[in-house]
């Protein structure tokens, strides 16, 4: 089955650039996973006539149109009316929705306005999905073989509702085969180098396929197969994965994991180990990222940011002579920071980081110079990195430094 879809985002705030559109990427990825083609995405403001025009053309050219935004209770919210007009349908009162809205206001002790009642009017024959994350109606409208799905603009409603309700429904309606994707996450190799090594596989394989994506300081390789069922897809992917591992296996740190810190969390929990960081140039990024992962309290109890020389000496017990002789941005300092942190934190793995994030050189060291120290029951080691990438890249260098720190912790945990 060859199914084409288009996404239309509605909202003047989007057009003014005051909001970055993260919904589109999420919806696009979901459609790709269902094997539904997406050739075109559009963003329009809160203007009825323009929206109707864009909708008509999108409905004409596609099987499915998904809108995001413009479903609230104010007069700016025009999507439902525009969809009804574009499809030639009346808006009729949907009793269950009215009762749901009444119940919502009754519970809050608030008074319903005419606009709230307006929310219960839906295009004739609309399929209603219960919105568990807000009050906007989430509906699908079908006519003459065309489907229009209306989603709210707020990501914290749209994303879970799409994943939990709309995607399974689309799969049932539009997908006669199963598509399985597997994501290999690579650290330590660039996208260009990975492409070079994998080029012939990328070119020759059509099912399964392999596609590389650059993430900040990482590469994601997506293997995707289409087949009759999950088993068939997985078998196809397994055989391709074997070939991929022969070439870049040493760089793969995880399969279907979200990030370096998620994989670190997994390994630490599996081995019942803890980690701590002593951060200079990364300034708390490493701790933040590790604590972003659910269940972090099992793997991290303490972490410190020692940004100044004085903090390194006072909190971590660095020898002032080491600083005088080698500077704070040095392998020697990184080693003493890791050792000092180990005594302070009692963590199984103590990782230190000191470096130059820029924009200016520091202590005569080039921008991008970063030292990472690791102390564990295996002893102490230190690695030097050069992470410079052109100018104006302070944030980028700090992110790459945090990647290096988290990866070193992960490697150490694997070895313990």
């Amino acid at each position: 089955m060859n199914v084409n879809a288009e996404i239309i985002c509605v909202g003047t705030e989007l057009l003014l650039g005051d909001i970055i559109d993260t919904n589109s990427a999420h919806l696009s990825q979901g459609l790709a996973e269902l094997g539904i083609n997406l050739f075109h995405r559009e963003t329009v403001g809160d203007n009825h006539d323009r929206l109707v025009h864009v909708l008509k053309s999108a409905i004409g050219e596609n099987d499915i149109v998904i809108t995001s935004g413009g479903l609230g209770a104010t007069c700016d919210d025009i999507t439902k009316e525009a969809v009804a007009e574009a499809m030639g349908l009346e808006l009729v009162l949907h009793e269950p929705s009215l009762r749901r809205i009444e119940e919502h206001y009754r519970r809050r002790g608030a008074v319903m306005t005419e606009n709230n009642i307006k929310q219960a009017y839906l295009p004739q024959g609309a399929i209603v999905f219960d919105n568990e994350y807000g009050t906007a109606p989430i509906i699908a409208v079908q006519k003459d073989g065309k489907t229009v799905i209306l989603l709210p603009g707020v990501p914290r409603e749209l994303i879970p509702m799409f994943d939990e309700k709309i995607k399974p429904w689309l799969k049932e309606q539009f997908s006669d085969s199963t598509i399985v994707s597997r994501n290999l996450r690579l650290y330590g190799i660039g996208e260009a180098a990975a492409e070079d090594v994998l080029r012939d596989l990328m070119d020759s394989y059509t099912n399964p396929t392999i596609a590389p994506y650059a993430k900040t300081g990482e590469v994601l390789l997506r293997l995707t197969a289409r087949g009759k069922n999950e088993n068939e897809c997985n078998a196809l992917i397994d055989s391709l994965q074997e070939k991929v591992f022969e070439r870049v296996g040493e760089f793969v740190y995880g399969i279907d994991v979200d990030s370096l810190e998620a994989e670190l969390n997994r390994v630490l929990r599996e081995k019942k180990l803890t980690v701590a960081f002593a951060e200079s140039c990364t300034g708390g990024m490493c701790a933040k990222r590790v604590i972003d992962v659910p269940g972090a309290s099992n793997v991290i109890g303490m972490s410190v940011v020692t940004y100044s020389k004085e903090a390194k000496i006072k909190l971590l017990g660095i020898n002032p002579e080491t600083v005088e002789k080698h500077g704070t941005i040095s392998a020697e300092c990184a080693v003493e920071m890791a050792e000092g942190l180990r005594s302070l934190s009692g963590a199984d793995i103590s990782v230190s980081v000191t470096g130059v994030a820029g924009p200016d050189t520091d202590e005569g060291k080039a921008v991008g110079t970063v030292f990472v120290g690791v102390a564990s029951p295996r002893g102490v080691r230190v690695s030097e990195f050069n992470l410079a990438r052109g100018k104006r890249e302070r944030e980028y260098i700090r992110t790459l430094a945090a990647n290096a720190v988290i990866n070193e912790a992960r490697v150490e945990a694997e070895r313990l």
Copy 2:
């Protein structure tokens, strides 16, 4: 002058949702600042025919079309060819570009391929802007009163080139009046409440205008004026700002500042003060955000993440009895954390935070309960916040908690 523009993003990776499009928001904001209308934004894949079709329609309906992406040296990069076809122009060799590319490869000791030479072929009569941030050609093509501007897809090339070269050029070509915007940043009031209080000003003012935008836990009020010159615009904004301050002045923490942490940095530097954090539920976010701001080394030397009970006792010297009696999520614990941090760090302002980010309740305290302690030469104080917002909001609560912490530090710095 009424000038209409459209933005077209080119790239299959965008359509597959593997990249979140941040370029569009930046370009849209820039156009809004120039008073150029934007009614429509589109995203298409790396498909020549489809791109030509979309370009022709956009050129037909607008004065300016800006493309982003598809300018590299590979065969996927099709924007230049599609623009030439859509405008009915030949591609001709542009000698200075060829020399620039040759020089680039000569310096790197690399060999030029035919594809690299292809990069030097540009639509007839193209205006070339020197790309200081990469090798992709950045050009404007004008014909029959229509202008098409081709920008690369990489944000770290597109954003500075648009700001430094394209925007001033567009202003010269298309703007006969000056537009000035001023951003007031508010903390402590929600978007809905701010709108309620300002509704009549929003409705009655057309020049200057006032528009509120919700940021995470903050509100941005943008005052925008159009006039003959900057002075005239500023005078218009001043008079509206006075009215706005009468109503919500107590919540305004900064004018044309980037964030709470940028304003904190400014106040601390002005008063030559330092800050330190003892973070529990925020896990390093506060330190990270303060160190994100350039010049952070003047205002922060040290910070700690005390995630576990043991870390709070060991590093900050919390009395174990306090923990036993009140729990770690308590005003009492926050006070002792702030005091302990003050001794440890020697910072002028020591701020502690302990709370429940969720998803589960902790120590019998509800999700969203957060205590912030502040110790400074003025003494010690503690504030309790309830930051819960529906379910699945761990990240959101942590961000709001970090906002509260940074704001408390800012308020304390103002008072010292």
